[in-house]
């Protein structure tokens, strides 16, 4: 072609929902690098800028370019279905990462269980706080799958295991400034014993500054420490765990997302099929919304395992 794709390797398309979100962009970069490394040609990721309709067009445009497989981070699990169906009609295998598709024929959903992450965070937080007091939950918008799932997992577990704890929940819109606004108002007016951050990559730096201003940024064991647990496992969060400011962090399997995206793309090109059951890499393949999902394990990070090389936050450094 005119752009000089003299590479005869099969082309793979990537459709991203957004690119201005740190977690997604780390995810995108990892997957692109892994697929390229595996000897395939990855087209530059398309960016739907948060618009589900645009994402359908992006997938359709990728299909027009005769890609052999499509990897997507859907904007919305339901709204992506027409795109999956279009890929099915064109015979292009469709792989989703992080967010699943709730319909169509998906070759594999590569994901971690966000409900389980919320639950793990709840268990860590409840145990560290001793099951009493007031917890400030800074959650992601429920219009996003990770937002709703982490919130659900956290709240269900709280109700079941730590009924003595009161929860104040504030929507952060996955927005750093809004997080600080909301948290500041609550922390300044209410006695808070614990904080749950649904995403450390968005929220932690601002919360740290805020707590420092309130003289509440203290490591475990020191006076004024607020029990804090977060999800994501970004590098600054691992540092905070190391120093004891964060009691625990649930690290997403971002390195595994990248690795197994490449793995499943290769498998799809070969025509391999998978069954429900344990995978060959310490995870469970389950049926999820009518398709197969490889539930990659997320890791609960505490001081004990914070230096684990396989954590993506450590690799990113």
């Amino acid at each position: 072609s005119a752009t000089g794709a003299d590479n005869s390797a099969p082309m793979v398309g990537f459709s991203a929902a957004v690119l201005d979100n740190p977690f997604t962009s780390a995810n995108v970069n990892g997957v692109v690098a892994a697929v390229d490394e595996s000897g395939l040609t990855m087209l530059p990721p398309t960016n739907a800028e948060g618009d589900s309709g645009q994402q359908i067009t992006d997938v359709s445009t990728l299909i027009s370019q005769n890609v052999k497989a499509i990897v997507a981070i859907p904007r919305d699990s339901d709204a992506i279905i027409p795109a999956v169906e279009a890929a099915n009609a064109a015979g292009v295998p469709f792989i989703t990462v992080d967010t699943a598709a709730n319909g169509g024929n998906v070759y594999m959903n590569i994901r971690a269980d966000n409900v389980a992450m919320g639950k793990a965070a709840c268990e860590q937080l409840g145990a560290a706080a001793g099951g009493t007091g007031t917890v400030l939950q800074l959650f992601g918008p429920v219009s996003t799958t990770p937002g709703i799932d982490r919130k659900t997992g956290f709240e269900q577990c709280m109700a079941a295991e730590f009924p003595g704890m009161e929860i104040i929940s504030k929507d952060t819109g996955w927005d750093a400034a809004k997080t600080v606004d909301q948290a500041q108002t609550v922390l300044n007016t209410t006695e808070i014993d614990a904080i749950f951050l649904a995403s450390d990559s968005v929220m932690l730096p601002g919360i740290q500054t805020l707590l420092q201003g309130l003289n509440r940024w203290a490591p475990q064991g020191e006076a004024g420490h607020i029990t804090t647990v977060a999800i994501d496992g970004s590098a600054p969060a691992l540092d905070a765990v190391r120093a004891g400011y964060l009691d625990a962090d649930v690290s997403q399997p971002l390195n595994l997302y990248a690795k197994y995206s490449a793995y499943y793309v290769q498998a799809a090109l070969k025509g391999t099929t998978f069954q429900v059951g344990p995978s060959d890499h310490d995870s469970q393949i389950v049926e999820y919304e009518g398709n197969l999902a490889d539930m990659l394990p997320s890791t609960v990070v505490t001081k004990k395992n914070v230096d684990d090389e396989t954590l993506w936050g450590n690799a990113a450094k």
Binding site: S25, G53, T57, D78, I81
Partner: protein, 341 residues
């Protein structure tokens, strides 16, 4: 010896295109240039499949809102809340239909009735906007901005932030039907453009909208009922946006609670690049259609080309800025645009 008056009448004057036509045609060479660039950059660009299914289908929803906004802009007003109607209208309709187990109201209202209801709600919103800007003479920008915030909030409130899916067939029809092998979205878009363009160009009501936007006082003194007409224009815009919302829902086979968010910026860009003046009274629906096409083509080229993804948005903004400057250099710029936004 002749008087000045006679002179003015007889002074030689080249055969000239009306400024409106000139402004419209200004975009045609740009579109052709974009087509050539696209063809060079990507072999898949100039195929019927790409142009129809990627460029046009993707432009249809945007395009219908652009038509709606253009009519409102021509009337001399502004409506930012149209993007929130794109989200709210289908949310209301689907919510009325779906059982509560799927996030709906559980009222089990038949689809056709729910669709009628969502158009009715949209019409009421348009009428409220129209009343606030005419009767209370509030500034349209700020009123519709507040309305936008309110309606987005209501959409989130109704759905509890969830996406509603598993829609009845009536809702999917607008996304999946392909009469004569071409998506129904394109058919609707083209029909809307042709009908509204003909109406605005040649129907007395359309001409009155131009008069209203060009000089409200003059329109009023010519016996045009400006208040009623303004309200009608807002209602019309809201109804078209509701249609666009239902079409978008048909495409994505669901209603998301952020549906339409951010759309209005692109709507304004397309309308203005297409020659619609933000000062009212100027521009044509055909011009706006060209603006939509151009943006759709650029978007498509950027997707097909191998521009690094993180820079696509920047390039898109740059291209729009260049298109505006080009519009100016082509003499297509609305004349009295000295100051006011």
């Amino acid at each position: 010896m002749t008087s000045t008056i006679l002179q003015a009448g007889t002074r030689p004057r080249a055969i000239r295109m009306s400024p409106a036509v000139r402004r419209e045609l200004a975009l045609v060479p740009v579109i052709i240039a974009a087509l050539i660039v696209g063809t060079i950059l990507s072999p898949t660009f100039l195929t019927a499949n790409n142009l129809l299914n990627n460029v046009l289908v993707n432009s249809s929803v945007l395009g219908i809102v652009v038509v709606a906004e253009s009519v409102i802009l021509i009337s001399g007003y502004f409506d930012l809340s149209l993007e929130s109607i794109v989200g709210l209208a289908p949310m209301v309709a689907v919510w009325l239909v779906l059982p509560s187990s799927l996030g709906g109201s559980g009222l089990g209202i038949p689809s056709w009735l729910a669709i009628v209801a969502c158009f009715a709600v949209s019409a009421i919103i348009g009428a409220i906007n129209g009343l606030l800007v005419t009767k209370l003479k509030l500034n349209a920008f700020i009123v519709t901005l507040a309305m936008l915030t309110l309606l987005r909030g209501v959409t989130t409130g109704i759905s509890g932030g969830q996406t509603l899916s598993r829609l009845p067939a009536e809702f999917l029809f607008l996304g999946s039907a392909r009469p004569f092998g071409i998506s129904i979205q394109i058919w609707i878009f083209v029909v809307v453009v042709i009908v509204v363009a003909a109406f605005m160009q040649n129907h007395p009501i359309g001409r009155k909208v131009y008069a209203l936007g060009g000089n409200q006082a003059a329109a009023a003194s010519a016996g045009i009922k400006t208040t009623k007409l303004t309200i009608a224009v807002f209602v019309f815009g809201a109804l078209l946006s509701a249609l666009a919302g239902l079409m978008l829902t048909g495409r994505i086979a669901s209603v998301t609670s952020d549906q339409g968010n951010g759309l209005i910026f692109t709507v304004f860009a397309a309308a203005v690049i297409g020659g619609i003046s933000l000062n009212g009274g100027q521009g044509t629906i055909f011009g706006a259609f060209c603006g939509v096409l151009l943006l759709g083509i650029i978007q498509n080229i950027l997707t097909l080309s191998r521009v690094p993804s993180y820079w696509i948005a920047a390039i898109y903004g740059l291209v729009i800025l260049c298109a505006l400057i080009f519009n100016y250099l082509a003499g297509a710029r609305p004349r009295r645009n000295t100051q006011r936004a």
